[in-house]
Amino acid sequence: MKLLQNLGLVLFIIGLLVFTGIPFSGSYQLDRKMVLDHTKEMHQDAMVEVLEPMYENTYASNFSFIKDFNDLFNAYNEGLKEEQAWDKVIWDDYAFPLTKAASNGPVEDAPLLFLALSIGLAVMGGLLYAIPLYRNKPAGIKHDGIYFSSMKARGWLGIITGTYLIVFYIILYWYPEYLTNLVIMVDPLSILLSGGPASQWFLYGLIYTLAILVMGVRMFRKYKGNNYQTIRTASVMFFQLAFAFLIPEILVLFNMPWHDFKNIWPLDYSFFYEYRIEGMVSSGALGMFMLIWGIILIVIGVPAFTYFYGKRWYCSWVCGCGGLAETVGDPYRQLSDKSLKAWQVERYLVHGVLVLAVVMTAVTITNYFMEFGLLEQATNQFHSLYGFAIGSAFAGVIGTGFYPFMGNRVWCRFGCPLAAYLGLVQRFKSRFRITTNGGQCISCGNCSTYCEMGIDVRWYAQRGQNIVRSSCVGCGVCSAVCPRGVLKLENGQEAGRINDMPIIIGNESIKVKS
């Protein structure tokens, strides 16, 4: 078994190396036709002329190709800006489609081979590693050696992993033209699903989904014997695969807008953007359903489900960000900061982002009803600011890249506006709580250590108090790791949900009214 697992690790690393190497392969050659094919009609003449000097060259790497492209393209735009010819400046991003079109080489010739050698090997290796985990061992959570692990306790492996993720996200969001070979590699899969070629987002969605599935299998092994963990993990795997990956692509195949039915505003911050609304409104009955369903989720779904089950129904059962955090991020859950200071920062940040999202959406909708009058400029600025700072930098780069540094819920805890909204309902009007079992707590600290949201669970448990906190995503791990059976996630009557026990049960010496 150990042999199989080591083989799995080797395969995974080979897959990862091939994946990392693919962008550096191949050569690049641009011609006039490619430019015509991939630019808007209004830009075609200009672009064909601007890029003229590139047609003769064969570039040995994407670095030299993109450098030349940027030099020419920027020089053209700068010239126009100096002349104050603002209407002629090209704001569109042509670097990605033209680099993709110009790419030649082994990946383009045999995309499926490279897909198998990179992502395929990594997935297979991951499964070979995960499936035999804890085989022939009695059920029970094994956290042995976590704090001796370089990967899980901020050692050099953790630092390398975090750095890799951060660099990957920066390239993905702001320099996707360097990833074109990887996108070409998944083109056949995209065509199969949606009928169209892949974008960097298809590549990202594919990796994201596979990561959740493989690490979900690891969760099944790690938490075997704990049905709550198993069912919850199966749930996030299902919602990611079906709702976030397959259904949206299939919708595109049928000429519908790409739509994730489980994503809810304000996490889905662009839901009320003009292009999204137009897309839905112009897509017939299904489009109207998307719009109405989305609004129902916001105004009825969130409060109703959260009232009955707590925010866990979404955060650790349905959500894609939560899905990644609960599977890929599980090995890092103990790294969240439990200090009071962190809790204070958390409250300012997460509610601040919620306010920002609400204000931005209000401006967007007002602008829409004012028929793009006064607020057009403000709306666009707002959108790009929010998209850059929150949508990309916070949710992506920090949210995932910081797993090995600050735990797996950095985004959910400090940044997610939907989590803030769900949290307000959970804190003030919900039947959900984590019940503390009388006086059985021994203050050992497993619950607090393994709380991914940085809640100091022990603070409440050792006082005999139930845990009612807006940030709790109901992952159930505090209950699972408690050695004395002290914690239970429950939905129950609101009365007595928040309790106080000045003298803990078991001591009759002192009579106090509680």
Binding site: S149, G438, C444, G445, N491, I510
Partner: protein
């Protein structure tokens, strides 16, 4: 020395709980906690998790380091070498002197050493203090085999610790069943099976005769009562603990096995109190309670109660409620409520159910009038409040068994054993207690039954 200051010697659960509750009741009394073990309070029960890599030392501290200053509780890190009860002063090893108006002794326990030959060899130790943990870390580096002696809770913890580092363990237990001076036969067998499932070489009915050292004074083997020699580089002595009162021997303080106290934790000396593991009650604090209470929970209750008496006009005697305790044997959690001795006689009757896996079991004891006396639960979490009430109110057997769904504290979606248990109970007692039904709506809401 200030007008009224309280000095607490020992920062375990008893001393710290006492300090916290004094501060709750009185915002002004100066409080000083003295300890030479660690600068801050940590959870002793969590020491094993540090060794196993589940947590680091800082995670075992129940309160953040700034908690003490915020609550105006002074922490003094130092070793007390003597106490002058007549001048009411603590003398520290470094020459410092600390006066007290009222002194609370909460010095805890130390591992039992029964004078085994070789018990002072290097690589032989107990596990109680933070220093013991550091020693264990040092003593178990690169060893091939470990032997544990004594079948209690600390023993099974040490077995789990060593197993987590893949160190083979032989576990010598004097009794015929594991912890069978506390557990009834079936439960002792259940735990014993589970220990063996984790590849621990559990030798029951076997005593330690001698620990054998090499020329460097390092342990190299143990000899058992069967004459067997087991090679090992580490020996864990876990045959219980006893009050840590070496400091008070030959002083005016009355001691027996522990520091003798009355029901208000008063010693024979004025303004000196003792709580927690180190205290020995002159009279047991309740029916079926021992004179020395050495568990986390009782330490906490002692602290709560003494704090009340030190800050309130109306003094109270220590009156513990229904007994409860818990532990974990590798993967199997154990909870107990009320009084369940290892054996009993008529007219006490019992009901025992064990799941097919052999890892889940419940035991109930009922008196001659069918009222519940106590229960043991293995692998099935139970609600403390439920049994506290049922035992206090003396519920009849059928009522307890018929409402176990309300007592269930297992996580949601956990495997359900209630029907199996009911079938067995109804069969043995010719009763027909039905399985409580929940409506679809109740199930959908996941409502607590």
């Amino acid at each position: 020395m200030s007008e009224n200051n309280i000095v607490i010697l020992g920062n375990g659960i008893s001393g710290v709980t006492c300090a916290r509750h004094i501060r709750k009741n009185d915002p002004n009394i100066p409080i000083t906690i003295v300890s030479a073990e660690t600068r801050h309070f940590f959870s002793r029960t969590a020491l094993m998790y540090i060794y196993m890599g589940h947590m680091k030392y800082e995670h075992t501290k129940p309160y953040a380091d700034d908690f003490w200053e915020k609550n105006d509780i002074k922490l003094l890190f130092g070793w007390v070498k003597a106490i002058d009860f007549s001048t009411q002063e603590l003398n520290f090893e470094d020459g410092e002197v600390l006066g007290y108006k009222q002194l609370v002794l909460a010095t805890g326990s130390k591992p039992n050493m029964f004078g085994w030959p070789g018990q002072d060899l290097n690589g032989v130790q107990g596990l109680y203090s933070y220093q013991d943990l550091l020693n264990m870390e040092k003593n178990t580096q690169d060893i091939q085999h470990a032997v544990l002696v004594g079948g209690g809770l600390i023993g099974v913890e040490m077995a789990e610790m060593l197993a987590s580092r893949k160190i083979p363990v032989t576990f010598l237990v004097r009794e015929k069943g594991f912890w069978d001076n506390i557990l009834p036969k079936e439960e002792a067998a259940l735990v014993g099976r589970h220990i063996r499932e984790h590849h621990i070489d559990l030798k029951l009915d076997t005593e330690l005769k001698e620990i054998i050292g090499d020329e460097k004074g390092q342990v190299k083997a143990v000899k058992t009562s069967n004459g067997e020699i087991i090679n090992c580089q580490f020996v864990g002595l876990t045959a219980g603990v006893s009050p840590n009162i070496a400091l008070f021997k030959n002083s005016d303080l009355n001691t027996n096995r522990g520091i003798l106290v009355d029901d208000q934790f008063r010693t024979n000396l004025p303004n000196v109190y003792a709580i927690g593991d180190c205290a020995e009650f002159k009279k047991p604090p309740g029916k079926d309670r021992k004179n020395i209470e050495q568990v986390w929970y009782t330490g906490r209750m002692h602290g709560e109660t003494l704090a009340h008496n030190l800050t309130r006009e109306k003094k109270v005697g220590y009156t513990p409620g229904i007994w409860f305790n818990s532990a974990k044997f590798f993967d199997i959690e154990y909870q107990t409520y009320g009084h369940v001795p290892p054996s009993w006689e008529n007219p006490i009757r019992t009901f025992y159910w064990e799941g097919e896996s052999g890892k889940v079991a419940l035991r109930f004891l009922f008196d001659q009038e069918d009222r519940i006396l106590g229960m043991n639960a293995f692998g099935w979490r139970m609600r403390h409040e439920f049994f506290d009430r049922a035992i206090k109110e003396g519920w009849k057997a059928d009522r307890v068994i018929g409402q176990l769904d309300k007592a269930n504290f297992n996580p949601e979606f956990h495997k359900k054993f209630y029907k199996q248990l009911l079938d067995k109970y109804n069969g043995e007692n010719s009763t027909s207690i039905p399985l409580p039904r929940r409506s679809f709506i109740q199930k959908l809401m996941g409502s607590r039954s």
